[in-house]
């Protein structure tokens, strides 16, 4: 080889190595020097679109705001959005497309707990950080995997545990009647309710009913036979209305607390019960810092109106779950900021696992822990008399902790 050829070969090698270096520094898909690609999915159509449509809209507007303020460590957030129709097949298809075709950096999706669970194994196997949208997702969160985070609205465990805390502390209840469902959600919320009841030395009498129950007289009589100090209803909307109505007919006048599971449409609940007299001692579980339209969270609704004036003018918009979209997007943005400019999936998931911040929307902070990937453990409560909502002070916490069997 001549001297000229040797220098030429060395120069070619140097150029090749220089070209390869940025690729080595950014080996995780979905991240470039200027962008981070996030895969968002939820029900945008179908019978369950109310659970996800406005939540995704809210997340979009927070991501857009973040970009307008300069992005995350100099990178703009780029969203790829898929419709999962709130079905397991839809979630798996959306996740696979986002990961394999769109090559997203991380996932921020899922509004329906039962639907997200089947994607758990795929996500963990491919080591992709995933923060669910507004699904409780207890089945996907526990046991903790290190990659899946969620319940930025509230988990079933947290909802069940914190309502016992509220009943015991707010009413001084020593005996609590608890009616839930005999499905997976029911087992999760009852597990935590029993834990907190034991912790706070409260006697818990529970009855689990089918969601399709036709007559609630039997389970209600059974729990009321113990003369409880409070009745907690942890069912879906239809059975909840039947229970409230029957409890009123039976003359039960102690506090009744309806949890998040059945409180999506309180006006319809009043209509279904048939009388506002049934709501004289009635409380509703929430996670927000204020009632809808209240001063503390008005900014979220104003922001939605600014971003989506046409949607905001339509009935049923924004949907009840809209603010959760902002919370989940805040969590993603904050975790990415914490992970730093030298961004990898590993750093992002580690940052998420210890993230804690106040949302300005929820009654308590979002706080992920290494042994607990559920972000929100606190609930708030409002008194509802059939017409007026009055926020009660304070937030109540579930002390339930996951323990490996």
């Amino acid at each position: 080889m001549t001297v000229r050829n040797r220098w030429g070969l060395l120069a070619a090698m140097a150029v090749t190595l220089a070209g390869a270096m940025p690729a080595a520094a950014q080996s995780d898909p979905g991240v470039t020097p200027t962008t981070i690609k996030i895969g968002v999915f939820g029900p945008l159509s179908g019978p369950n679109m109310a659970y996800g449509f406005d939540v995704i809209k809210a997340a979009q507007m927070w991501y857009d705001k973040t970009n307008q303020e300069g992005g995350v460590n100099g990178r703009k957030i780029e969203l790829v959005i898929e419709d999962d129709r709130c079905t397991p097949d839809g979630v798996i298809a959306a996740v696979k497309k986002l990961v394999e075709q769109d090559q997203v950096f991380m996932l921020n999706g899922g509004s329906c707990s039962a639907a997200v669970l089947p994607a758990k194994e795929y996500v963990v196997r491919n080591q992709i950080p995933w923060l669910t949208l507004n699904a409780s997702a207890d089945g996907a969160l526990y046991p903790p995997t290190g990659y899946i985070f969620g319940s930025t609205s509230i988990s079933m465990h947290a909802a069940g545990g914190s309502v016992i805390d509220f009943s015991a502390k707010n009413f001084g209840a020593k005996k609590i009647a608890f009616i839930n469902h005999d499905d997976a959600y029911g087992s999760w919320n009852h597990e935590a309710a029993a834990y907190v009841a034991d912790d706070e030395k409260v006697e818990l009498t529970a009855q689990s009913i089918q969601p399709s129950v036709t007559d609630v007289t039997a389970p209600l009589l059974k729990v009321l036979a113990g003369k409880p100090d409070a009745l907690v209803i942890m069912t879906y909307a239809r059975p909840a209305a039947l229970i409230v109505k029957r409890a009123y007919e039976l003359g039960f006048d102690k506090p009744i607390i309806l949890t998040q599971t059945g409180s999506a449409n309180l006006d319809q609940l009043v209509e279904n019960v048939g009388t506002k007299d049934a709501f004289k001692n009635f409380y509703v579980q929430d996670v927000m810092a204020d009632v809808i339209g209240g001063p503390k969270i008005k900014w979220v609704y104003d922001m939605y109106k600014t971003y989506y004036p046409d949607l905001a003018a339509q009935p049923d918009h924004p949907g009840a779950y809209m603010p959760y979209g902002v919370v989940t997007a805040q969590a993603v943005v904050n975790a990415l900021k914490l992970a730093g400019p030298d961004l990898t999936r590993e750093k992002a998931r580690l940052a998420m696992s210890t993230l804690k911040f106040d949302t300005g929307i929820l009654g308590g902070p979002i706080e992920f822990r290494p042994n607990d990937p559920a972000g929100n453990r606190r609930t708030t409560y409002e008194k509802f008399d059939g017409t007026n909502h009055t926020m009660l002070p304070g937030a109540y916490e579930s002390t339930w902790v996951y323990k490996a069997p």
Binding site: P47, A218, P219, A241, E249, Q268, G274
Partner: protein, 299 residues
Amino acid sequence: MDFDTALIFLEQGVASGIVTGSVYALLAISIVAIFRTTAVANFAVGEIFMAGAYCALYLLVFVKVSPWIAIPATVVVVFGGSALFQAGVLRAVRRSGGPINLVIATLGLSYLLKGVVRQTGFGETPRSFPSLVPNHSLTIGSAFLTWLDLAILTAAMLIMVGFFLMFNYTRLGRAMRALGMNQRAAQLVGVDIGRMNTLIWGLSGALSAAAALLIAPKLLLTADMGTVGTMGFAAAIIGGFSSFPGAVIGGFVIGIAENLVGLFIAAHAIAVTPFVMIILVLVLRPQGIFGGAQEIKKV
């Protein structure tokens, strides 16, 4: 559980069970009426019941017509819809296929009705229409009942008595019985089979609509409320799939058993009670409590 509590539970279980059982009985009669005369198991009975409830909801709550118009209108609409289904769909299916195709057609109807209700958007949120009876209550012994409960029971009993009288003492009832015994012989004596089948389906639909009008204020309306049709089938199987009195007794048995199991065992056992009873009946007396002796038919 002490004796006093057990007695209260027993009285309440029986009282509440009789009320819900009366509605199951209406649905069971609706199923038996079709099966006994046309040998078709109508798997759309629950969704026809659901469609009747939503028809009433639409008229009472959205169009705001008087209950005196809405109630008969609902019964007429469901009667007409059921009759049309038989005349337009089942007749064609019967010509081209065997009995299993007829059953599949009823399954198709059930999915169609549920899909239509979901498409309207009304089916996603539980809804109610106003009770026609004041919201008062009374105590019979230790059992607590509302005026609505008594109205449901009374109306259901009147409908059952009316159906029984029609079936046993009218020309129409005679024709229905003849059809159930032997279709060819009935045809030979002048019974118009096609017209009778259509009429029977219409009557069955009307019974389902009546059941819906009675119990919808108590159950609340959702697109999935048709699952109560399963109770009608359970009642029909227990009582005897070819016996009207059996269907009535079966309805009350299911209603009472559900409530007693819920009170004395566990609430989550309520759902399995009808199916456990079905299994017991099928094992011990397959023709049902009031079904006739088993017979072998040449096909």
